[in-house]
């Protein structure tokens, strides 16, 4: 875990990951829901793995079910890094 990571860094990285999953760059915004971006459960598993590897933050299935949109995910990750 890197305590110097900023919220903007996390946001940029999450958008980058979503784009790698097939999300259009213009659609990668905080307000978008995972459904709207066609991000499925397997994508979320992979996203959680990347977040774990890069930030040392563990996201569970319960966490994922609570997330309303991409911004929620970013905020949750940032709050756990802090």
């Amino acid at each position: 875990m890197n305590s110097a990571v900023s919220s903007k860094d996390v946001e940029a990285r999450i958008f980058e990951i979503l784009i790698s999953f097939g999300t259009e760059p213009d659609s990668a915004v905080r307000e978008a829901t995972f459904d709207q971006l066609d991000i499925d459960s397997l994508d979320l598993v992979e996203l959680a793995q990347i977040v774990d590897e890069e930030y040392g933050v563990e996201l569970t299935i319960d966490d994922a079910q609570q997330l309303q949109n991409v911004g929620d995910a970013i905020d949750l990750i940032v709050s756990r890094i802090a």
């Binding site: 397997l42 598993v45 992979e46 793995q49």
Partner: protein
């Protein structure tokens, strides 16, 4: 497969079918991590054969029935040979007895090694496979898992479980270029079956037991790029015994 950046992990690779699979994959260009539980000498011989084939290889001790082993094995294989992008769940045990007298321990011990350990390893290797958009998982089942066998309720249940687990995993990850299949041997000439081989061979339409190499060839195919659309399947290798 010989790009030097990925490897195959074969559990129970010190002898018999597992050793033949390790040699086959090495011949196909894979770096191969050979897991063994007790037979250090056998594992060393398998690795020696891998090196002779010009591939990279290493032996890794670990009892797959022990829950932390999956993490340890994969981490060791990755450190030595690169990401595990092919997994062969071959390690298996049997503890036979009629159901009426089989203890909880006899039942669960076989399930733990043959099925639960395969699940743990599968779960562990999927991480890298998902990221790589490629992976091959082959579990060694048995025709006993398709039709049952007197005295082997535990073994048959474990092998049937492997088939159902494999189908499910295949459906979950197929869109990531990962395949999961089962090879189900019939009577194969190994140390495990040696006491029965002569007697049972007459019941096989092919009139002989199969060889470990004949099973390994099927695994080699399923691990290959050529088998990319074979997913969730059970490939029976039994000389027409169940035909």
């Amino acid at each position: 497969m010989s790009d030097g950046k990925r490897c195959a992990l074969v559990t129970g690779g010190s002898r018999g079918i597992g050793a033949a699979i390790a040699r086959q994959l090495a011949a196909d260009g894979w770096a191969v991590a050979v897991n063994y539980r007790d037979d250090e000498q056998g594992a060393a011989e398998t690795v020696g054969a891998i090196l002779e084939l010009g591939a990279r290889g290493c032996a890794i001790q670990g009892d797959v029935a022990h829950p932390p082993t999956a993490d340890n094995l994969v981490a060791a294989a990755e450190a030595e040979l690169g990401p595990v992008l092919a997994l062969v769940n071959n390690a298996g045990v049997h503890s036979d007895g009629l159901s009426a007298t089989m203890s909880d321990d006899e039942f669960s011990r076989v399930l733990e090694t043959n099925l639960t350990a395969a699940f743990r390893l599968t779960r562990r290797v999927l991480r890298k496979m998902l990221r790589a958009r490629f992976g091959r998982i082959v579990s060694i089942g048995s025709i006993v898992g398709l039709r049952g066998n007197v005295g082997q309720a535990n073994y048959a249940a474990s092998k049937a479980g492997l088939i159902a687990m494999t189908r499910t995993v295949a459906a979950e990850v197929a869109r990531r270029g990962i395949t999961a299949n089962v090879v189900a041997p019939g009577l194969i000439d190994t140390a495990m079956t040696a006491p029965l081989s002569q007697e049972l061979a007459g019941m096989v339409p092919a009139r002989r037991a199969g060889s470990p190499e004949e099973v390994a060839a099927c695994v080699g195919f399923l691990v290959s790029e050529a088998a990319s659309y074979v997913n969730g399947a059970t490939l029976v290798v039994d000389g027409a015994l169940t035909a």
